[in-house]
Symmetry: C2
Subunit: 149 residues, 2 copies
Amino acid sequence: MTTLAFEDFTPGRVFELGTTVVDRDEMVAFARRFDPQPFHVDEEAGKASIFGALAASGWFTAALWMRLYVDEVLNKATSLGSPGGEELVWPAPVFAGDELRASMEVLEARSSRSRPGLGLVKLRARLHRGDVLVFHSTFTGMFGAGEQA
Amino acid sequence: MTTLAFEDFTPGRVFELGTTVVDRDEMVAFARRFDPQPFHVDEEAGKASIFGALAASGWFTAALWMRLYVDEVLNKATSLGSPGGEELVWPAPVFAGDELRASMEVLEARSSRSRPGLGLVKLRARLHRGDVLVFHSTFTGMFGAGEQA
């Protein structure tokens, strides 16, 4: 298997990460444990809410994106974790049964000044239901430089 | 029970949200499902990593904060959800058994121009282990105005 190293994350490159379907039971179980607001755990409260139906916790939506990113990129890469990000947006609600398509775009890449062999990659996460963007985030990933670098 | 409305979120007000202890089994189960990077799911890989031990997924850490925020603030408030945030930072790793203390600080509050009765509150989330800040985030919450407003 080819390992993705820092040098492979060139600005403008887009990684398509595949799709996932929102499982109702898992969506509600997640909300019960981590985000038990009425519109995330109760059908009727969801209908009466600003979302118009039982809606996923935004943290669940983010976590669904993360799993696809780990499977398609991070666990095939010289990933060294993430210090965080600077944007986290849920422009539209996510509902049970939604099929979500994930992608990741490289925005910037630079070598660390203080730590040779380490590269910092700024990237944009996106999750779409059809043409509707339901989640996006901009954050930084740390990756080891390739052995040939 | 007094309901917290938009007017109660005055800039500078800090809400102490209590503490939670990181359960090892739950931490690993979360990572297996949503963030199965080796240093989040395997003890040895964690020791060999930049973190020095098996470390929590940052999304799990964020979700732990969220639960305390829901229990102590949102489910006692006129919460109408969140459109997102502009900062998400994990300055230090979180480990199994850590006791984490959560807080929320109101940074800004303004009434919506387009939607009367709706207020937008910019707030900072923080999670500490002792004096070490392990998670912080800045995002916006939407709250209904109080009936007396």
